[in-house]
């Protein structure tokens, strides 16, 4: 087997690891005070003691709330076969009560091999759900409701939440409601009648610490010795990798990465990009790969947009900025054009174009979203008359002009002078 094939195989392995959140978050399951253990304790006790429960998993996006929950549920399904049925809802899809109840009924039907009809009314579905909850309770079967994007269920009248939590007040039912949300105040969004029925158990998921990040990187990138890959390749790969991970430069890269966003999902994207940069000829990860990945992940879209502008578009931006400096409360294309003309009159620039060409440049800027209209009203007004504003700061404009390859000196001068 050639080196390239080996590297390709290793690449596929690494990529599938990175795309599998269950694998990524599995190392957090060992320690006793981890969220994994706490959640597992809560859920397994309500399964074994046949009681109702509810819990909220809160934390910023990309910290593994869902992945840990998946891991726990998978374990529980193995430990207590035929005692748990899981119903999964997502606030993005089922925030409408009608839709949610229908989806619950559908999943219950699939779970228990019943026939599901699309045409059933909301009330019938609710009745069916409550009936099923009772039946499951009698059969000592726990129904777990996983509500992803929990905050979106709290919009509107919260009929679904009330219905679920109210059904759980009776002794006959046996259900767990697990809410997952990135809003830390998700429980404050609940109505009083819903909140009083909620158990207020909350688990907080935080972005990993520096040590955890290092552990995570090692966990993901180190190749297993017991795979189909030849042993000596794996050993060499791992040795080189560990060498890189120990380097000071690598630590700096990780620091810059986690300074802006230290969540796991950001790390995963970074590692994915780094792995994709791996040179298949040599078959090993290099520190350059990580550097390249960092710059491709951390982008500055506004500066990129400025670099794409033509000279005339830069003129338009500088004119708009001059108008903003003068604290004109609102301005539109016509006033920009006036400013552009006055710049031309006082400096005799070579870039003086007709009004319609400038209007086109103005529209390009709108498309690039470097500028935008002040309001969304006045769609019937034509472009020239709608008040506009800059979407970039002075600093960005200054940087952009400085790094622009052939920026006219006059623009630099104008922006320097009116600082």
């Amino acid at each position: 087997m050639g080196r390239e094939n080996l590297a390709g195989e290793a690449l596929i392995l690494l990529r599938s690891r990175l795309c599998n959140p269950k694998f990524v978050f599995s190392p957090f399951s060992d320690s006793a005070d981890s969220n994994y253990s706490k959640l597992k304790f809560i859920l397994s006790s309500s399964v074994t003691e046949a009681c109702n429960n509810s819990v909220l998993l809160l934390g910023p996006r990309g910290c593994g709330k869902n992945a840990v929950l998946e891991l726990v549920i998978e374990d529980l399904l193995k430990e207590y076969p035929d005692m748990i049925s899981v119903i999964k809802l997502n606030g993005l899809l089922h925030s409408d009560d009608n839709c949610a109840v229908k989806e619950i009924a559908r999943q219950l039907c699939v779970e228990h091999q019943l026939l599901f009809s699309k045409m059933v009314s909301f009330d019938d579905n609710t009745q069916f759900m409550i009936g099923m909850l009772r039946e499951c309770g009698l059969a000592h079967k726990t129904v777990m409701f996983v509500l992803d994007e929990f905050d979106l269920f709290a919009q509107g009248k919260q009929r679904l939440l009330y219905c679920l939590l109210d059904a759980m007040q009776s002794v006959t039912s046996q259900a767990v409601v697990i809410g997952v949300s990135c809003r830390l105040d998700a429980d404050q969004l609940l109505e009083k009648r819903v909140r009083s029925r909620f158990s207020h158990r909350k688990l907080l998921f935080l972005p990993p610490s520096k040590e955890d990040l290092q552990r995570l990187i090692k966990h993901i990138l180190v190749l297993p010795t017991d795979s189909s890959l030849p042993h000596d390749y794996v050993v060499e790969f791992n040795a080189k990798l560990l060498n890189i991970l120990a380097k000071e430069r690598f630590k700096q890269i990780i620091d810059t990465l986690s300074n802006s966003d230290s969540t796991c999902s950001n790390l995963l994207r970074f590692l994915f990009s780094a792995v994709c940069h791996m040179d298949l000829k040599s078959g090993f990860l290099l520190i350059e790969n990580f550097k390249a990945a960092l710059s491709s992940i951390q982008r500055q879209p506004k500066l990129e947009g400025l670099k794409d502008c033509s000279i005339l578009e830069l003129y338009m931006l500088v004119c708009m900025w001059r108008l903003e400096v003068r604290e004109q409360d609102s301005y539109n294309f016509n006033s920009v054009m006036k400013e552009y003309r006055s710049i031309h009159d006082s400096f005799q620039t070579s870039d003086y174009y007709a009004r319609n060409v400038c209007l086109r440049a103005f529209e390009h800027l709108l498309e690039r979203e470097l500028i935008s209209f002040m309001d969304h009203r006045g769609h019937n007004q034509s472009t020239e008359f709608r008040p506009a504003k800059l979407l970039i700061s002075y600093h960005e404009l200054y940087q952009g002009l400085k790094s622009y390859r052939s920026c006219p000196a006059i623009l630099q001068k104008l922006i320097d002078r009116e600082r």
């Binding site: 690449l11 990529r15 996006r61 993005l92 994915f272 016509n334 174009y353 060409v357 390009h364 008359f385």
Partner: protein, 541 residues
Amino acid sequence: MGKEESPQVVTRRTTRSSSSSTPNSKNLETTKSCNPQPMTINDLVFGDEHISFDDLISSLPGRRSQIHELVRLLGPLNSPTIPLFIYGGTSTGKTSVVLQIFRYLNRPFVYTSCRTCYNPRVLFESILNQLSLHRKDVGNGYSSAKRCERPSDFVNLLREALLTVVNNLKGHLENSSSKKSIGRISGKMVYLIIDNLELVREWDKSANLLPFLFKLYAILMLPEVGLVYISNTSPDTYYSDTGYIEPIPVYFPDYTEEDLRQIFLRNQANQKLYSSFLEVVLRPFCRTTRRVDELSAAFSPLFKKYCEPLSDLGISPSEEMKRRLFSHLQPHIMPSLNEVFKISSRPSSEGESNKEKANRQGCTQRLRGCPAIDEIDFHMSTSAKYLLISAFLASRNPATLDASLFDSTGGSDNRKRKRNSSVKSMEHKEAAEQELLMKGPGTFPLERLLAIFQCITSVEEYTLEEEEPGTNSLGVESGDSGLMSDVLLQVSSLCNANFISKGGSCPLDGSTRYRSTASEDMALKVARSLKFPLSKYLYRR
């Protein structure tokens, strides 16, 4: 240049089934439509002929590093991938590059554009149709395979459809490995490409839909699915209040001058001649715009001009010849730099202006800004011209002045009053000018437009017919009835041509208000063609 452009435009605007019909496979398209065979899984890959990596690089000049990056991110066969987010300005080859890469990789994919699929339902159904290999035709009444409106139904149906496709692909793989069949499809991954994502922000309920689309990968939890988003605007324009899991960004910068040179040199019969032409024009034009579509529209008439002194287009120009050609072209460069939209002679410009229209939105807005030379270069009926002028007057003049401008005593008196009023407002001139710049033309109800129309037509008619100022205007009441007959029709056609825009209704009386969008030059030109003394009626502040 047109040749080079057309496939790009086609791929950008249409779904794959038609975009695969590149010019040389046109006959294939026709046979396809007359005997519709049931679609197979092979229809999920691009086109028919395979291209090599070198072809891929050379067919898309200036995009080498982006192609490399994308191929790396898509990875080797059967490797799962995190969603990708491709962004960059208009006409930077995003869609073409992605589609050509999939053609090179021969991997099955589903392409949908949010421009053609203009609401969630159409978008969802289009994806499902393609996945379930369903083709709309007469037999099924051009209906979709599944009716699907809500995201929740979509996820269930999509998961089902994807699983079937993935299973089919797996079966296909086994078959092809055992029987060596000629199926070109490779891998068991399916990719969903969603183009023009920025348009979703304008849709209803986009606040929920966008996070949903971004989270689709996490919701589906199928490692065999790859997601590719293509957008005009950068990822930071999509931030919502509770955020989303961000995809991996891939940036397509605008073409540099050197890239543009290569792009324009493609498909040129005489490379040397064209490159000497580009040396002259490319740099000045790049200062205003770097978009391929706009540049190519500007270059094609210029190149014709450039070639005019040449008898033989096949020659390679010498230095001296280049100088001569340059001096021939030079007077044309400046005017052409200063126009965005040219209608030269009727037959040849037809296709060009159509293309222009397809390429840009809002070109109708630009139309009125176009500096036509001396007279209006399109046909308009006399009553439409009068209507245009009256709309212009109604927009520019304050309504309170109508009575004094259009009373029966005629034009001479008007002038005096107008001058008086302009003297009065002398001190406010600056402020008023600013206001005009900011607020634009005013709005007016239909009744006012018709009243002004009647006034100016009646005045005109008797000055033309009787040449005698001072008679009572009641006498011509019968004369203008012919003009008034289909005036409302003319109003609506002027609205459609965007000379008059229909605004929202007035909050007080609820009637629709109109606004003239014609520029002053335009109105003056129209007035001149009618020999109508427009400046006499114009209120100057």
